[in-house]
């Protein structure tokens, strides 16, 4: 049993949820999958006065193709992201990252919008969203704006969300034809958050090479190493890339799973493996 009392709201439509969010502001916590929120409430680390569940709102769970974009409803569960045919075909990087989130049970319940709004520095989606140039739709009772991933993730569990705002949709550009991608992560125990994770996208002919790194600072970072690979996948290019990764990992943190120095070292290893794997998948 959670110790502190709170009011539970289960709106049946999005407008009602936004009105409740406006009414309660920072006193409320939004419950999506609840895979982080419910355990932290049980532990007493988060003690909201009001919990607003999104789980009874229809039509927040979808994947749609719109031109060059995939539009994903915020309540789409990780397991759906992993298995969805459109995601697998147009953004295999996103499907690959989703497959590594938590465990089977967590993927059944946890949602893409909830994970993004939670903004854990080692979570699966943020480096992928940065690398793909995703845009997040943030709605409130009297507003509707779109924020790019790079502007959304501000700091450790800090986002551009303002009181009363809700992430309702994630728009992900399709990968360019022929591009190779890879998501690799280091973890000690299956289901744990990554110690470090590297997402990589390599366009045909090394037209672009981008890395997204997680676990190397208070938020995920994007590292564009295109200039390093002008001459292809050479030792010199990889060495220069490791320098860029080291610079991007300057704010690495330490915890029980590894200190900052270890994270920086592993970021270089996983960045290199990521680029090599992505390059091998170019078609």
């Amino acid at each position: 049993m959670i110790s502190k009392e709170y009011r539970f709201e289960a709106p049946r439509e999005l407008g009602e949820a936004l009105s409740l969010l406006e009414k309660y502001g920072d006193d409320a916590k939004v419950l999506a999958g609840g895979m982080s929120l419910v355990p932290t409430m049980t532990l007493g680390l988060v003690q909201p006065d009001v919990v607003i569940s999104l789980n009874h709102i229809p039509n927040l769970d979808y994947v749609r193709e719109e031109g060059n974009l995939l539009k994903i409803g915020a309540l789409t569960r990780h397991d759906t992201v992993r298995k969805n045919a459109l995601v697998q075909r147009h953004c295999p990087l996103l499907a690959e990252a989703a497959a590594f989130i938590g465990d089977v049970q967590v993927r059944h319940r946890g949602s893409i919008g909830g994970s993004i709004a939670h903004a854990d520095p080692a979570a699966g989606y943020p480096p992928v969203m940065l690398i793909l140039g995703a845009q997040f739709r943030l709605q409130r009772t009297k507003g509707d704006r779109t924020v790019p991933a790079a502007a959304f993730f501000k700091d450790l569990m800090q986002t551009a969300l303002e009181p009363g705002e809700l992430v309702t949709e994630i728009a992900v550009p399709k990968l360019p034809a022929g591009a190779g991608s890879a998501y690799l992560r280091l973890h000690r125990v299956e289901g744990n958050f990554a110690i470090v994770a590297a997402a990589a996208v390599v366009e045909k002919g090394f037209k672009s090479v981008r890395l997204g790194l997680a676990g190397v600072g208070p938020k995920a970072v994007l590292v564009d190493v295109t200039a390093r690979f002008k001459g292809g996948l050479t030792d010199a290019a990889l060495k220069a890339m490791r320098g860029d990764v080291a610079e991007a990992s300057a704010d690495a943190y330490g915890d029980l799973n590894g200190d900052a120095e270890y994270r920086r070292a592993m970021a270089e290893v996983y960045a290199e493996r990521g680029v090599r794997t992505a390059a091998s998948r170019v078609s």
Binding site: M1, I2, S3, K4, E5, Y6, R7, F8, A10, L31, G34, M35, V38, P39, T42, L43, V51, S53, N55, H56, D79, G102, D103, V104, Q105, V106, H108, R109, E190, G191
Partner: protein
Amino acid sequence: MRVPVQVTVNKKAYRVEVDTRMILADMLRDVLRLTGTHIGCGTGSCGACTVFLNGETVKSCSVLAADVDGQDVTTIEGLSAGAHQLHPVQEAFVKHQGLQCGYCTPGMVLSAIQLLKDNPNPSEAEIRRGIAGNLCRCTGYQFIVESIQAAAQAKA
């Protein structure tokens, strides 16, 4: 604050009133008296509290009871009518010693059923990934994996 919850558990409809702070696992055990669902860590790590929610496994310690209003839940009790009519996966766990103390077993069995539903012929590595969300503190994993392999073969 108490809220009404209408929920179907093991094909039976219930109408109950629960404290908003109650997690699904506590509702199943303390309100519906279905004590086959076990609570280990209470924080989403161990998987002892695994149940089916709308046909997919979830950890019932990480779902609020108030949030299952209108939903469909299946617990370990829903698999069979009794000890003489076990589910084939339960039979395999009995036959291959897939349990020691038994605490993790309800969750393990439900995760195994989910796995075999998604992948009827899993490799050993796929079985280990399929039960990654369930911890056995007796560390009886080898026999658990063998039980699931046997259940897959029996089905095939």
